[in-house]
Symmetry: C2
Subunit: 498 residues, 2 copies
């Protein structure tokens, strides 16, 4: 191996080791931490984060990266791509001056506390000033990072490389027009019943069933484990140790089941990344949108399909015979796919979910354009909920205060949730085309070919391709909302008898 490349790799792995330690401490914080241990833990994480950042942004590292990119001929295409992506990350990290990062993190900390207080008071007014500062910092961040067409591009690209505001604007226009119309049509049909999901479902039995689902998906328990936390998440210390968490609500079966499948989808991606590329861009996930596509495909395209429950409904029913007495596979399938408007994003169904994201996208974009200001944000929010979903938001906690993201400074993040679903639909359509027996196999509980397909087409590449390139390579076209609409129409049309 080229000596300069080896030095680069060693530094990257050292950074990855530190980040791995941070991840272990973060996981432990959510899963195990005793109350009084919080202060020491925050300090330990902050110290290690500082060390990791210092190693990555060291000026001599920038020079080494510049030199390496000049070595094109001596590096393999993969090595070259690693260096190219790292240099891009390096430039991004070093564009924000340290004093700016410190000021911004103070503002984030204040905004988080203001958000908590506003939630307690159920009053957006309490949060307004802090959010104004956050938006100011986001505008400044965009200027510092730079952009070609739109300041919001710079924010988006922190999560989704190469995503463009102009393209998302078209995409969400489609969402608004096509999805709003379709959902309206569904609402005119006879509603489906899902009351059986809210019966009492014993915790331990749910836990065991969730483990079975994970196992069946192909999640490798020798390279991970599941625990309980307040909010489900997936975290990786290396592709050989990727952990998931779930939460269990004894009066809501869906909470656990689809959070297991969703996090399992994320985890399969991480477990499928290359150990040889540990610490390097090619050992990292392509983007948040692609990551989300893996979770959503398993959760919805697979995990809410009839085929999937053909394989698992009998086991579920055997486990909860009383609760599901009289419920047929058909009832169950319809129930878990009930479409009904909801004020809260995280509780939304598969279709309404994208209205929630659409609204946030429109607001974020307009904020970055200076078209609207934080001052009036609650009004804007409530109007859009009324317009797109026919929902009257009557208090701020169920409206503009519901998400934590903005208080973290994460403007530009929400769209990746929808991108995930849209990529999932497009990829899944292709997978079905390439594996004609796919649904039959899923119906027998055999997901191996799907996982193999994902490994081969997505997981193995890490960040080698951008999301655009990856989508083009797999499906022969760019992201196309049509696949999601086709999927939605076929599935929900049948369920609602359209």
């Amino acid at each position: 191996m080229n000596k300069q490349y080896e030095a680069y790799k060693n530094r990257m792995r050292k950074i990855a080791d530190i980040n791995g330690a941070i991840a272990v401490m973060s996981w432990d914080k959510e899963v195990n931490l005793p109350k009084k241990g919080a202060a020491a833990r925050s300090q330990q994480i902050a110290t290690l984060s500082g060390m990791s950042h210092e190693l990555f942004t060291a000026p001599e590292f920038g020079k080494e990266l510049e030199a390496l990119t000049g070595l094109n001929g001596e590096l393999t295409p993969q090595q070259h791509r690693n260096v190219e992506l790292t240099l891009k990350d390096y430039n991004k990290s070093t564009k924000l001056p340290t004093e700016f990062v410190i000021r911004r993190s103070q503002a984030v900390s204040e905004a988080y506390h203001a958000w908590i207080k506003a939630r307690e008071a159920n009053d957006f007014g309490v949060y307004k000033e802090a959010l104004k500062k956050i938006v100011g910092f986001c505008r400044e961040t965009a200027e510092l990072l730079g952009y070609e067409a739109h300041p919001y591009d710079a924010l988006l690209n922190q999560y989704e490389p190469n995503a463009k505001t102009a393209e998302l604007t078209v995409l969400f226009k489609d969402v608004r027009e096509q999805l709003v119309a379709f959902v309206k049509e569904l609402k005119e049909q006879k509603p489906v019943d899902n009351a059986f999901l809210s019966k009492f479902y014993d915790k331990d039995k749910q836990w065991d069933f969730g483990l079975k689902l994970l196992q069946n998906m192909g999640y490798d328990f020798d390279a991970g484990r599941q625990d309980v936390s307040a909010h489900p998440f997936t975290i990786n210390f290396a592709p050989t140790d990727v952990r998931v968490t779930t939460r269990i609500d004894e009066y809501d079966l869906s909470n656990m089941a689809w959070s297991c499948i969703h996090e399992g989808g994320h985890a399969l991606y991480e477990q499928g990344l290359s150990w040889d590329e540990y610490g390097l861009p090619l050992g990292e996930a392509c983007s948040l949108g692609i990551h989300e596509s893996q979770a959503r495909m398993w959760e919805n395209n697979v995990g809410r399909s009839k085929a999937y429950w053909q394989a698992h409904f009998e086991t579920l029913k055997a486990t909860f015979s009383e609760q599901l007495s009289g419920v047929t596979l058909e009832d169950f399938y319809k129930g878990i796919n009930q479409i009904a408007p909801n004020k809260i994003r995280t509780e939304a169904d598969e279709l309404h979910y994208h209205f929630h994201v659409l609204i946030r996208f429109e607001i974020e974009k307009a904020l970055m354009e200076g078209e609207i200001e934080v001052e009036d944000l609650d009004k804007v929010w409530n109007e859009k909920y009324k317009e797109y979903m026919g929902i009257e938001v009557t208090n701020d906690n169920e409206g503009i205060l519901q998400d934590i993201h903005w208080s973290h400074g994460s403007i530009g993040y929400f769209p990746t949730y929808s991108l995930g679903s849209f990529y999932a639909a497009q990829f899944f359509a292709k997978a079905k085309e390439e594996i004609p027996t796919l649904e039959d196999e899923i119906a027998t509980g055999d997901n191996r070919k799907l996982l193999q397909w994902l490994r081969q087409n997505i997981h193995q590449y890490g960040r080698y391709y951008t999301p655009d390139e990856l989508c083009m390579k797999i499906t022969g076209e760019k992201l196309n909302f049509k696949y999601f609409m086709d999927y939605a129409k076929q599935k929900f049309g049948a369920i609602y008898g359209i």
Copy 2:
């Protein structure tokens, strides 16, 4: 605060944060790690260990420490003591050249694997060459670290500051003469029965009972937690997060119960250390011997006393009514204090335990003096077991291969186990003197005064005093084996009717 002292403190806390991360990763390794995660975890721990070592042994830090020790008048006595101890640690760390440390760690790794193989083959011959190397490295370590009277002093002092081979020789002579004679006398009496301890004791019930014992000792579950691991241990990330583990054998009640109490004793020490001194010597335990004294005092002087079980036997009996049917408090107390020779150190009773340590001490000392060589070590071992305990060791796994310590290079460690018991006896005698109602309180399940006494006399000081000084301060004399013998004679004399 003095600026130079502040810089010193900041570096020490940074190191402590890294060491805290290593501790979290190590805890997770024992408690949670999925099989395939082991390689990445070792690498991550190694990277952080290297960073911590680098920060601590940096030449400029040595100069800063030298300068600080000259600032005597400007520092508080506590600050001065911190600096003094850190300089001592620094000098120790920098005395071993890096290439030596690397070579030694390779030898340790080889010795560990050789030990595993030898255990599989039940043949000391397989381990001999590797152990010879380890002994060679230990001899070299002693020369590099330096010593006044005896090369073994240098090794001992890695674990027990100021411990002297000459004094331990006198101490273990007492053990050999007095304890061997007393145990011989006990063996001539009617044996006590403990068969009831080996009935079936349900795992979950044992677990719950162990938690109750910990709670009752004063272990703060808001600053720690208990989990299960193959070998029980205590680990601290900060005084606000001190975790214990236990293991449960369904056919051996004693395994869980006294491991909870033992680790609880260690943990109470760590929870009692000063958070203000986090990362500094005064925030660390005095020595391994003093640490062990805390564990052993709770385990034996308290946890195997009649008073203690006056408080807890009824609860235990209510939990395991069938297993303990017909067993009186008196039977139980006698049973848990059965004295019987055993080949295995970790399974030894409270008295025989020290024969095991005595044998290891004599061997280690003689090895360092060159009086014996590894070549004949199994013979020497077996002869001593025959002589001191009347035990015929018939195979190496039950003899010289039973402990992992030497394969880690830990020569000089074993004596701290006995020191722990002897300090415990001396401290506990003093505690009873100063708290006349102590045993009565323990008998009602109230351990608060004892804990308060330990906090006040031991925990709060960290490393401010050496073990010798601490013992002198608390008891008015140096470590004196008499206290242990008095305790043993009184307790076991009564149990065995002498």
